[in-house]
């Protein structure tokens, strides 16, 4: 145990200051090497121990309640009665290990982490006291530590906690191994609860006993009976059956179970178990380990019981569970757990735990909890209620990840009644996520075995050195397919053995190839056939399981096809829960190719094949990745194409990389874990050689170029097949180190750098790889690996090492299966989780008609390309893609634009009529347009029909025969049309609506009274036809006017002509306002005018000249307002209290200018009589000096009388001191 955390939790969880501790731990987890806060220095050891401890703790705590999941429960505890154990089973025999096989992957629930962390961290003085001291011992009372638990702890620390004894025990065991398997059972220890669990009716569900067994690999004619130390990786030489993807047969399932959990990190776990047992015994027996029989509070006799109903009210120690959930979630969120999916799987196991509680639980718990007060020893997960509570808490925290799961899984989660009853909030969110989820698991249609076509360019006589070589290869090709057909027909038959049946024929073929130097030709054929048969997810690698790819179906665009596919998926997707840690496998057809390589055993062939694989990998890895902005719902066509291309490339890359890895590391594979003595010399030797493919360089490049999403998955496939020593080589050490850094960097959160799903994918594959790596190292029995590799690369962080020691890996698909099995209630019966699908005649019949017409056409299309040069296909696909894309663009630019224009007219009319409901109006108008929108399909077809053939004709060779050309053109047109029309038919209405809405909004903004928006400008305002756009910028004019207002004088001359080239609504509005202000100042006659040389002229003369100048300015202002401004000019401002106040402030008031302005406003149509009258009227109601008020009244009267009596043209303007003639002359 990690003493520091031990201590931390032991202080009594109830008293713990939750936020503080969380913070503390959180900080310590997030530590970077160089950023250790002073206060946290004492905890620096804590950080590396904490996570493994926590995860182990959870596994240990839940080990008894968890019976669901991928385990094959031991059916008869009796069978274990004879199992022997010397000194508390610390030396299990081989036979026990084998017996443990039947327990299957229940081992996955054991200690997640073994004690592989450097020994120093376990010595009491290194971490325990320091952390104890700093972990707030104020809350720490001696009484809690008193009693047996304290003693047990001390014992553990002093004794078994010692790493020397750990490694000693380990070595011993690996030496004993098979020999002890034959030794008779020497000692029976009935007290050992691990060995002799109490019988119970529900024991079929209790796999605790089997948990304690080291599983052995299934033995076959080619594998060895000795136990593998590898947790996950099936030995390369294992019989094909063990690697065959689980089908429906239980035998297969069992074989996989055996194969998967081949063995265990054994030794270290053993130590853990020992400690745990001791501790428990001592706890209950006052430290007297050798005491007699007792009943453990941990294990209760249980009645037969169906699924327990989880009840929130029965949850005990909620607070502790919440704390644990919080800690655990933080670890997941910070990538401190080695595999997110593994942890999710574990959480779902808890959620769906079958429950072995009895009604007495409550009492027992109480009793029990009183008995052991130690927080660590306390059972927090002793009942279903607690498990579910914890699981729901964690799921709640991890909602973001969960929401990305595929639809089926989400559905099961959303419908899970336990979640619903424990957290209605989470339930609601899950429901919502499910409803909006589109992530579907989909598989490519399997292509029936197709041959690689004969291409004269590469395959005819001129490509061979001699007639003989040519003819020999002709024969080899036929033999190869003959073998393939034979394998296809027979490999599933019982007793059929690849090597026995085909081995000699393959080797004879290889001899011929060698004689004729035809290996390169054959390697190419082999690789092409491999890609052709295995690139799909079915036959292809399934290392990270289901690949969400919604577009595959769309590509085929047929209802029947999709139905067929769905049906097929249900049959093809393995229904058994394989356990969360599958080794790299060669499923489906890949098996043929792997076995072929093994049987051929040809150095020349392997070398040529590796060359060929490297070349193809490099080619595909160079695929151009186009980044796409996240689109707002409306999926872009090009993006879909990109996705399709990317998926295809990724699948092929992973397939090829797996085979390359297989070939590269094949010479070094050993069935037995090699001894450490060999390691040193082997590593020294192999460090001298160059890698076949420079994956390190490629990995670095991919990180730099941000292409990890393509590169990392295939590199992981490649590395998943490393031999025992390869991880110790300098080169691969660097590769792993870089991958580890990458893993730590990719904390799951939305950011701009990388999408959530991409990260999730990379984390999943990396987590899986680390697991495999760990297995390889565990096999070699080297604890110092961490020192050797990881210390060289300090950035990776030593504490990460602990994380690598985890036995599990999970497919996302496993989550669903687990949940589904929960729903089906099929439970752990026989360990199989076979979904109940009854293929009815109706269903198979629905699939059949599709085979006829549309499918036939799709097939014909594919067949057409088969015998044509590959360039033909590329050309046609390229043309189809571009023409389809252009077609949509064309429709947008023509038809849609036209419709929008018409919509605008319609809206303009209607928006004036009824100002009421804009959205309704919009809908109405759009509805009228949709019908015409349907034309888009027609026009789209026309476009494709016109443009497609042109392009194909230009791009294909002149010599192409007419029939081929026509077909190519037709296919290109068809594909382009389908692509465009599919998009158009689903998106055209949305597109029209969106465009119309945008236009409408713009229209409203332009028309609306408040021209608030800055960025919209309605119709482009016209400058005068001869405008040279040389006028000052609006900003300059505004600035000038502003300056004038500040200075308080005006230039003589006209207003500058407004040029609208650079005008925007705000500047226009501002200009309008400014000019009105300006006019008000002018009217008050209190502003000096520039260039009037007041000194040189007499006063009346000066006065007249001044008036003229002001009149001139006012006139040009009026004209600008009327002619130039599009925006309404707020001339009413002239009548504001402030602006009229200008006049009032002047001693000798000049009203003629004001009157002139009033007439001007009317004459220019800027204001009506009535409007002015009312303005004047309201002016009079304001508080003015009496004399001013009188004058104002007089002016009003004059204005009114003038307009009521005379006609506008010849109005007298006589009343005031100024003779009217001046004004008239100027007007």
């Amino acid at each position: 145990y990690s003493p520091s955390l031990h201590n931390l939790l032991r202080q009594g969880v109830p008293q713990i200051d939750v936020p503080r501790v969380s913070l503390l731990i959180f900080c310590s987890l997030s530590l970077q090497e160089n950023h250790v806060h002073d206060k946290l220095v004492p905890h620096s050891l804590l950080q590396k121990d904490f996570v493994p401890f926590l995860l182990n703790f959870l596994r240990e705590q839940t080990s008894q309640i968890l019976t669901n999941g991928p385990s094959t429960p031991a059916k008869t505890p009796n069978s274990k009665v004879l199992r022997s154990s010397a000194s508390h089973g610390s030396q299990k025999t081989g036979s026990e290990r084998r017996a443990g096989n039947s327990a299957g992957s229940c081992s996955s629930r054991m200690q997640l982490f073994s004690q592989m962390t450097p020994a120093s961290s376990y010595t009491p003085d290194a971490s325990f006291p320091s952390s104890a001291a700093s972990c707030g011992s104020s809350a720490f009372t001696g009484s809690i530590l008193s009693g047996p638990s304290r003693r047990s702890l001390t014992e553990e620390e002093d004794g078994k906690g010692d790493s020397a004894s750990l490694s000693g025990g380990r070595r011993k065991r690996s030496e004993v191994g098979p020999t002890s398997a034959n030794s008779p059972p020497d000692q029976l220890n009935l007290n050992n609860l691990e060995e002799f669990p109490p019988m119970s009716a529900a024991s079929g569900l209790t796999n605790k006993p089997s948990r304690r067994i080291n599983p052995t690999p299934v033995s076959s004619e080619r594998s060895h009976s000795k136990p593998k130390m590898c947790f996950t990786s099936t030995p390369v030489s294992q019989s094909p059956a063990a690697r065959f993807p689980s089908g429906t047969s239980l035998e297969t399932f069992a074989a996989i179970q055996k194969g998967n959990v081949t063995s265990i990190t054994g030794s270290s776990l053993q130590e853990e178990r020992e400690m745990l047992k001791k501790e428990r015994y001592s706890m209950n027996r006052g430290g007297n380990i050798s005491a007699g029989i007792h009943t453990s509070p941990f294990i209760r006799t249980l009645p037969i019981r169906s699924l327990t109903c989880a009840d929130l009210s029965k949850v005990s120690c909620k607070k502790q569970l919440e704390l644990l959930a919080q800690l655990y979630s933080t670890c997941i969120a910070e990538n401190l757990v080695p595999n997110i999916f593994l942890e999710l799987f574990f959480v779902l196991q808890l959620l769906t735990s079958k429950g072995t509680t009895s009604s007495e639980d409550g009492e027992n718990d109480l009793e029990f909890n009183q008995e052991c007060k130690d927080a660590v020893e306390r059972q927090h997960f002793q009942n279903v209620h607690n498990c579910v509570y914890f699981a729901v808490q964690v799921l709640d925290c991890q909602f973001e990840i969960i929401s990305y799961l595929e639809r089926g899984t989400l559905k099961l989660l959303a419908e899970n009644e336990r979640i619903a009853s424990f957290s209605p909030g989470l339930h609601a969110r899950l429901m919502k996520a499910y409803e909006s989820s589109t992530a579907k698991v989909s598989l490519l249609l399997p292509s029936s075995v197709q041959s690689v076509s004969f291409q004269p360019e590469t395959d005819n006589r001129s490509n061979f050195p001699s007639d003989r070589a040519f003819h020999i290869f002709k024969k080899q090709r036929d033999i190869f397919y003959e073998l393939l057909r034979e394998w296809e027909d027979n490999h599933e038959k019982p007793g059929w053995d690849f090597e026995r049946v085909l081995g000699n024929r393959i080797r004879a073929m290889m001899n011929h190839l060698t004689a004729a130097c035809n290996h390169s030709h054959f390697a190419r054929l082999f690789q092409k056939q491999l890609i052709q048969m295995c690139k799909g997810p079915i036959g292809g690698g399934t290392s990270w399981g289901d690949t969400p790819d919604q577009d595959v179906l769309n590509m085929l665009g047929s209802d029947n096809l999709s139905r067929l596919k769905r049906l097929q998926e249900r049959f093809v997707v393995p229904q058994s829960i394989r356990g969360p840690c599958p080794p790299p496998t060669f499923p489906g057809c890949q098996q043929f190719f792997r076995d072929f390589i093994l049987s051929a055993g040809s150095y020349q062939f392997n070398q040529h094949l590796m060359d060929s694989l490297c070349l193809k990998i490099l080619e595909l890895d160079g695929l151009t990745l186009v980044e796409h902005e996240p689109s707002d719902g409306e999926a872009d066509m090009d993006e879909q194409d990109e996705k399709k291309r990317f998926t295809a490339a990724l699948m092929t890359l992973r397939l090829l990389a797996k085979f390359l890895g297989f070939l590269v590391f094949l010479p070094y594979q050993t069935v037995e874990p090699p001894s450490r003595d060999l390691q040193e010399s082997a590593v020294t030797l192999r460090n001298q050689t160059l890698p076949v493919l420079d994956v390190l360089k490629l990995l670095r490049q991919s990180v730099l170029n941000r292409r990890t999403i393509l590169t990392v998955p295939w590199i992981v496939e490649f590395l998943s097949l490393v031999d025992h020593f390869a991880p110790f080589l300098d080169y691969y050490g660097r590769v792993f180190s870089l991958l580890l850094q990458l893993y730590r960097c990719l904390v799951l959160s939305e950011d701009k750098e990388m999408s959530f799903l991409n990260k999730l994918l990379i984390l999943a594959v990396l987590g899986w790889l680390f697991q495999l790596l760990f297995s390889a190292i565990a096999e070699s029995g080297s604890v110092n690996f961490s020192m050797h590799v990881w210390l060289c690369y300090p950035l990776s962080g030593l504490y990460m090492w602990g994380l690598l020691f985890t036995p599990d890996f999970l497919f996302t698909g496993e989550l669903r299966k687990l949940l589904a099995s929960f729903v089906a209630g099929s439970g752990a019966k026989n360990g199989g989780f076979i979904r109940k699908i009854t293929p009815t005649a109706a269903e198979s019949l629905t699939a059949k008609p599709s085979v006829t017409q549309q499918k036939l056409q799709v097939e014909l299309e594919q067949a057409f390309f088969h015998n044509q040069p590959p360039s033909l296909r590329r050309t046609v696909e390229f043309v189809a893609e571009r023409v389809g894309s252009n077609c949509v663009k064309h429709i947008k630019a023509t038809l849609v634009a036209e419709l929008v224009k018409r919509a605008e007219v319609m809206l303009q009319d209607k928006v004036k009529e009824e100002d009421a409901n804009h959205s309704k109006l919009l809908d109405e108008v759009c509805a009228q347009l949709y019908e015409e929108g349907a034309q888009a399909l027609h026009k789209g077809r026309e476009f494709c029909r016109l443009k497609g053939p042109e392009a194909v004709r230009v791009l294909l060779p002149e010599e192409t025969s007419a029939a081929v050309l026509n077909s190519a053109e037709d296919i290109a047109v068809g594909l382009a049309t389908e692509k465009a029309c599919t998009w158009l038919s689903t998106n055209i209405t949305a597109l029209i609506k969106r465009e119309v809405r945008t236009t409408f909004n713009r229209m409203l903004r332009v028309q609306g009274p408040s021209l608030s928006s800055e960025d919209t400008q309605g119709e482009r305002k016209g400058c005068p036809p001869n405008c040279q756009h040389h006028a000052p910028f609006p900003s300059q004019i505004i600035n000038e006017i502003k300056r004038l207002q500040v200075l308080g004088y005006f230039p003589d001359g006209d207003m500058p002509i407004l040029c609208f080239q650079f005008m925007c609504p705000t500047s226009e509005q501002q200009l309008a306002r400014c000019t009105v202000e300006l006019a008000s100042l002018l009217v008050s006659d209190r502003v000096p005018i520039q260039d009037l040389k007041p000194q040189t002229q007499k006063k009346p003369e000066r006065q007249r000249g001044r008036k003229n100048a002001v009149n001139g300015l006012l006139k040009s202002l009026l004209s600008v307002w009327k002619e130039d401004f599009w925006t309404p000019v707020p001339v009413q401002l002239m009548f504001s209290r402030k602006n009229v106040g200008y006049i009032a402030e002047v001693e000798q008031r000049e009203w003629d200018l004001f009157l002139f302005m009033l007439h001007g406003l009317v004459d220019h149509g800027l204001m009506g009589n009535a409007e002015i009258e009312s303005c004047l009227h309201s002016l009079q109601e304001l508080l003015w000096s009496s004399d001013f008020l009188e004058e104002l009244e007089a002016i009003s009267r004059i204005f009114i009388s003038e307009y009521h009596v005379a006609e506008p043209r010849t109005r007298p303007c006589e009343l005031v001191r100024q003779p009217r003639g001046t004004v008239a002359a100027q007007s």
Partner: protein
């Protein structure tokens, strides 16, 4: 015409007991009136060939050869005009042409002192006037014209039938507007195995995609079909994908078992042909 295995077996059994004569053929037709004549003829010929193959070794032992030669010599001595060789062949249940070949070989060996070349023998069989001995020439001639299964005449007829059917097939393809590459074009391109026709644009026959068509102007029985599969059809499949074999004179129904895998059998030019038509209307 397709025959079931049972039907075929019945015919074969019947043929096991008759001589390969025109008379036998008439009996056969009478016995199986519902079968087409050409099918029966083809089966008749194949069964006879099988029988000959079975007994071939027996007639080629040194003793047998010597016996036949001596009987020939003594026979022509008695009556040079009588069909000595033909009667001998019928008597020992052997094909007359082959009997003629045995005797001719033996004769030339005696004359020249060396074993004559195959080419020479073939040439003489084809044109008996080249045979230095007039009597033997006549005897050989009688044998070849009276043989309905072997000999240069029959070979020539068979070849002609094969070719005619190829031409027929070509016509049909042209008529259906199906574009193809013929054998000679394929050879020119350097293909190592060449079916009669490769379709430039594949079609679907009865729901199965086909890339190539091979014409066989014979009945498809088990024996010949297995040989063809191994030597030709699978090789075509290995290179060009699935294809169609037309056995113009019919075949045993049960042999048409590789449809799913890509070898389709027909006894006539197929009518249910779906071509790649990318009419936009289909969407």
């Amino acid at each position: 015409m397709k025959l079931s295995k049972a039907q075929y077996d019945e015919i074969a059994q019947f043929l096991g007991h008759v001589q390969p004569t025109r008379q036998s053929l008439r009996k056969l037709k009478k016995r199986f009136p519902s079968q087409s004549q050409s099918t029966l003829l083809s089966i008749f010929s194949q069964e006879y060939q099988k029988q000959i193959k079975r007994t071939h070794a027996k007639h080629h032992t040194a003793e047998a050869i010597e016996t036949y030669y001596q009987r020939y010599l003594s026979g022509v001595v008695k009556n040079a005009g009588a069909p000595v060789l033909l009667e001998l062949a019928n008597e020992v249940d052997f094909a007359p042409s082959l009997m003629a070949r045995i005797v001719l070989e033996r004769f030339l060996q005696e004359q020249e002192g060396t074993i004559p070349s195959k080419t020479l023998i073939n040439s003489m069989l084809r044109d008996p006037s080249q045979i230095p001995d007039g009597v033997l020439a006549n005897q050989v001639y009688q044998c070849t014209v009276n043989d309905c299964c072997y000999g240069p005449l029959v070979d020539c007829i068979k070849h002609a039938i094969g070719h005619e059917h190829e031409v027929l097939l070509r016509e049909m393809l042209l008529e259906k507007n199906l574009s193809f590459l013929a054998e000679e074009q394929l050879r020119a391109k350097g293909y190592d195995k060449t079916p009669d026709f490769i379709l430039e644009v594949p079609v679907a026959v009865e729901g199965h995609i086909i890339h190539w068509i091979e014409s066989k102007a014979s009945f498809g029985d088990e024996c010949s079909h297995q040989a063809y599969l191994h030597d030709q059809f699978w090789s075509y499949w290995n290179r060009f994908g699935p294809g169609l074999v037309i056995y113009w004179y019919g075949f045993i129904e049960e042999l048409d078992c590789h449809r799913e895998r890509g070898i389709l059998l027909k006894d006539c030019f197929p009518t249910d042909i779906v071509t790649l038509r990318h009419s936009v209307a289909q969407h």
